[in-house]
């Protein structure tokens, strides 16, 4: 389950930053720092996750998507609920 979510997150991230090398992504360092993402990218990332997983992510929860680990954890908790 977690590996499926991780793969979905990486796919959505790849769509937002196609030039990024996601194989070297540190799981506990914010995406913004590693990939130079801005608010438009974060919005598109949330749109991509919504399209892939059907999860409606409130804007107030965007900070919970900051790192790969945090993102997978958040999505797992939303799926469980």
């Amino acid at each position: 389950m977690a590996s499926d979510l991780r793969a979905a997150v990486l796919r959505a991230l790849g769509d937002v930053a196609p030039e990024a090398d996601l194989t070297s992504l540190a799981p506990d360092v914010p995406f913004r720092e590693q990939l130079d993402l801005d608010s438009m990218d974060i919005l598109n990332f949330a749109v991509g996750l919504h399209a892939a997983l059907g999860v409606e992510i409130p804007e107030a929860d965007y900070p919970k998507l900051a790192t790969l680990d945090a993102c997978v954890g958040y999505l797992a908790s939303r799926s469980a609920s």
Partner: protein
């Protein structure tokens, strides 16, 4: 070959999207060209039938070169792109051997500094004299000859960052050299705007949410109605007011460099439509696929470095435009409201403008209008 920036000199035809005999309508994408700004979709400005292709894929040609011939629905034959031919074929070929080349003293000095041989250039000045602009263009494009056929390009050519850097350098140096800038700034309380935005986004599904940036763009576009002299271009020594408000949005590219494509008619499009166009523009700027009109039509530029933590940005006007608006980061600050100090999200808006066209007084009124508009976000 459309002129897609103040200092663009040439482009490479990558592919034709239409073939001889095809019908084309105004606004159709007819070809793809590669420039220092990346891969650009070229639109047509007339409707008719594509009669003949003049430039084959892989060829690099100067701006102003006709790419094809379209037989218009009206009985007029117009080259493509008809709207962007003025600089024309002045740089198509070098002077014939033995021909004496006139070079202005300033151009000769600049050529020596930049390592350009002015005798190899076709001048665009009076009597065919080589001007400093000719030298700058030659320096920007390096020693690469124009109007030569190159190898077939890859399907999606990568942007040449060094070439883009040279183009930005030429445009910015020209701006600082020729445009007498003035600068004004104004700190704006965004309490109402961000409160409205948060409520609005709570009700919206993810794909329809708005960003604070689009409120700022819309406020700028509407404020230009009150101070229209900032929405103009400067050409041939005089100002040309623009009736359409096409806001160029500075977008940084992660590989380096930036582009500032236009959001057309930003003052006339509802906020939702503007947001969709904004998202689409950013996505295409970063992945390739901007349209020629988006790179040539901006009448003012907006730049924001707030997400990089910058307090305020004093931009350099992008010629031939006459103004650029900057936004810094939105930060919580102590703010005095009705005699009490309260925390408020504020942003510093700045205006850099051409003093030949407007004065600081009008610039101040413009920023005041931006502030006033942001206090009623539901009306944006």
């Amino acid at each position: 070959m459309p002129i897609l920036g103040a200092d663009m000199t040439a482009g490479t035809l990558v592919a034709w999207r239409k073939q001889p005999g095809d019908r084309v309508a105004r606004g159709d994408i007819i070809a793809e060209v590669e420039t220092e700004k990346g891969l650009i979709d070229v639109e047509v400005f007339v409707s008719g039938v594509l009669e003949r292709i003049l430039v084959e894929p892989g060829a690099t040609v100067p701006t102003g070169t006709a790419l094809a011939v379209i037989r218009e629905d009206a009985p007029v034959v117009a080259p493509v792109p008809a709207a962007t031919a003025p600089v024309a074929a002045a740089v198509v070929s070098a002077p014939a051997r033995g021909e004496r080349v006139r070079v202005s003293p300033l151009a000769r000095k600049l050529a020596a500094t930049l390592g350009v041989d002015p005798t190899t250039l076709r001048g665009t000045g009076a009597g065919g004299a080589v001007t400093r602009e000719d030298v700058e263009r030659a320096a920007a494009r390096g020693r690469e000859p124009v109007a030569v056929a190159g190898p077939p390009p890859a399907a999606r050519p990568r942007m040449d960052v060094a070439r883009m850097r040279a183009t930005i350098a030429a445009a910015m140096a020209r701006s600082k050299r020729e445009i007498p800038h003035y600068y004004v700034g104004h700190t704006i309380d965004l309490h109402r705007a961000l409160g409205w935005l948060a409520d609005e986004n709570t009700r919206r599904p993810v794909p329809e949410r708005l960003l604070a940036g689009v409120l700022l763009l819309r406020a700028v576009a509407l404020a230009l109605r009150e101070v229209p002299e900032l929405n103009a271009v400067w050409r041939a020594g005089q100002v040309e007011p623009r009736t359409e408000v096409n806001v160029g949005v500075a977008i940084s590219l992660r590989g380096g460099g930036l582009v500032a494509p236009a959001l057309h008619d930003a003052d006339r499009r509802p906020l939702d439509e503007l947001m969709r166009a904004f998202r689409d523009l950013v996505q295409r700027a970063r992945s390739g696929g901007l349209r020629s009109s988006e790179l040539s039509d901006a009448t003012i530029t907006v730049t924001s470095l707030g997400e990089q933590g910058v307090e305020s940005v004093l931009g350099i006007v992008y010629p031939p435009q006459v103004a650029i608006v900057g936004f810094g980061r939105i930060a919580e600050r102590p703010w005095v409201v009705d005699g009490a100090v309260v925390p408020r999200p504020v942003v510093t808006a700045t205006l850099s403008a051409d003093h030949r066209v407007s004065d600081g007084h009008r610039g101040g009124l413009f920023l005041a209008a931006v502030e006033r508009l942001l206090q009623a976000p539901e009306r944006l």
